[in-house]
Homo-oligomer: 298 residues x 2
């Protein structure tokens, strides 16, 4: 009896309140075609003032920073980058199905004019200043998910936070919340790490080169730290795109989460129908639908 009542109520809620995704009438076109047909205005050029280039021996990792969520620590990260703090440091940890982390293995390099303690920015108010594009799909951890700007976001009540999806970049910290100052950062290299949400400051997203971090040999020490200095991956340099001559900039752009093209991309995943897929999922989670990034066409 309880089970029946429950089902009925659940149906009422679904029908009356949430907006369950409807299957598109025509099969969606392949992603490549959808993107190729998109107007230029559906894409947003990355802001050079909020784009980091981290050069590893195997290639470049590009990170888009999210100042709408972590303005204080991002200002500190920029101070560190501009003082060349990261150059010559290393990726010190590769924890399977979790994170790759970089920073000072000895924790002795002076921070210069950067702050050593920053008030945490784990959540922020959910308000109209966020350009929020919601997803209707239900989520295990939050009342609602979607994208703020092009970053994956969750919301419960009046608080909003960035979601620890694959490729998201966070601010390492010790047990003390204020210890996350941006001098050690991590990228999520495995399944979404949602237990971290609201417990640490998320500063941005790797938009290119995440495979350089996710395919690193796993560290064999506790928490995936490399046990021998020779196992660490050296960081050649980290630079802010704004400090690089225009001709050397990559010119990346991200598909706007509030665009018609992105809506098609998401629906194409939710109701994926092609010769291979037989049974569309009918839903997507926020981490499965991160807005695509490309080099801006000439």
């Amino acid at each position: 009896m309880v089970k029946v009542a429950c089902r009925l109520l659940a149906l009422v809620v679904l029908a009356g309140c949430a907006t369950p995704p409807q299957a598109p009438i025509a099969p969606p076109r392949p992603l490549s075609e959808v993107l190729a047909a998109s107007p230029a205005s559906d894409w947003r050029r990355l802001d050079p003032e909020n784009t980091l280039y981290m050069d590893l021996p195997a290639g470049r990792v590009v990170i888009e920073l999210a100042p709408a969520f972590a303005p204080r620590v991002i200002a500190n990260i920029k101070t560190l980058v501009r003082s060349r703090y990261f150059d010559g440091l290393a990726v010190i940890r590769s924890h399977d199905n979790y994170v790759a982390q970089w920073g000072d293995p000895d924790d002795t390099r002076p921070l210069g004019s950067a702050q050593s303690r920053i008030a945490p920015e784990w959540t922020r108010p959910f308000d109209a200043t966020l350009r929020f594009a919601p997803l209707p799909d239900r989520d295990t951890y939050a009342e609602q998910t979607g994208f703020a700007g092009e970053f994956p976001m969750a919301r419960t009540g009046e608080r909003a936070w960035l979601v620890h999806c694959y490729g998201m970049v966070g601010v390492g910290r010790g047990n003390e919340p204020e210890s996350g100052n941006g001098s050690s950062l991590y990228a999520i290299t495995g399944g979404p790490a949602r237990l971290l949400d609201r417990n640490i400051t998320v500063a941005g997203r790797v938009v290119r080169g995440i495979e350089l971090l996710s395919s690193l040999p796993r560290g064999t020490g506790p928490l995936g730290f490399y046990e021998k200095p020779g196992q660490r991956v050296p960081i050649r340099q980290v630079r802010l795109e704004a400090d690089i001559p225009g001709a050397e900039r990559l010119g990346l752009e991200v598909l706007r989460a509030d665009s018609a093209t992105f809506a098609q991309v998401v629906d194409g995943r939710r109701f994926r129908r092609d010769d291979w897929y037989k049974e569309p999922a009918g839903a997507v989670d926020v981490c499965l639908t991160l807005p695509p990034v490309r080099t801006a066409p000439k």
Copy 2:
């Protein structure tokens, strides 16, 4: 107005129907302590008849097969393994944040007495023969999730299927459903790949050595296939544990999903409280809580 009604209804549903997890009164003990205190009866020894050892140059990958979900293709896989079909083949694909796949790069090795076509086993009836331990947490893709035996499972209505969590092993196929015969397998090496659920047969889970697959260099060809034969990772041999002398068996066991210890493990994640975590997630998804595996104590 609609918003208020929706919230009220949602509250009713949560309070009256689902069983929302309650925060434990005392902080959970660390996972290591919980496991150390577990009775031996909370663990299940892997069945040698359903355990594969795949030896790569870097080490051993151990796979537990799930015959309750894919009896036909697992019988075929065992036939292939026992005829040494896989020995000398290779990992041919490493697709970032998705899968590593292995099999015959040339697709020419004869299958011997194994079948070349198998009726798909993408879902199965949800019935009392499954030892199902449900999770109360809501899921994006299915009405209910939990564990069948110790495998992550989802259910909607009367159909049940294994979930594409990190480390799950599936049966590669072409566009034709019957083409998945077990001669090419893949392991999920990135975020849960839930769009694959119900579209392909899942045959088991990597219970040891997934990092050997997930940290492989990514293939640069389409879909992450290796472009040059020299990039492939050779498979030395694949054997069924039952065919190996007892002294050489690893003796792995998995924590029973219906045990009191596992309930503590899950609650310890849902309401993680230690010196580092400040804000418990209050929920977990099925892929974040796969039952731990260990070497059986002497």
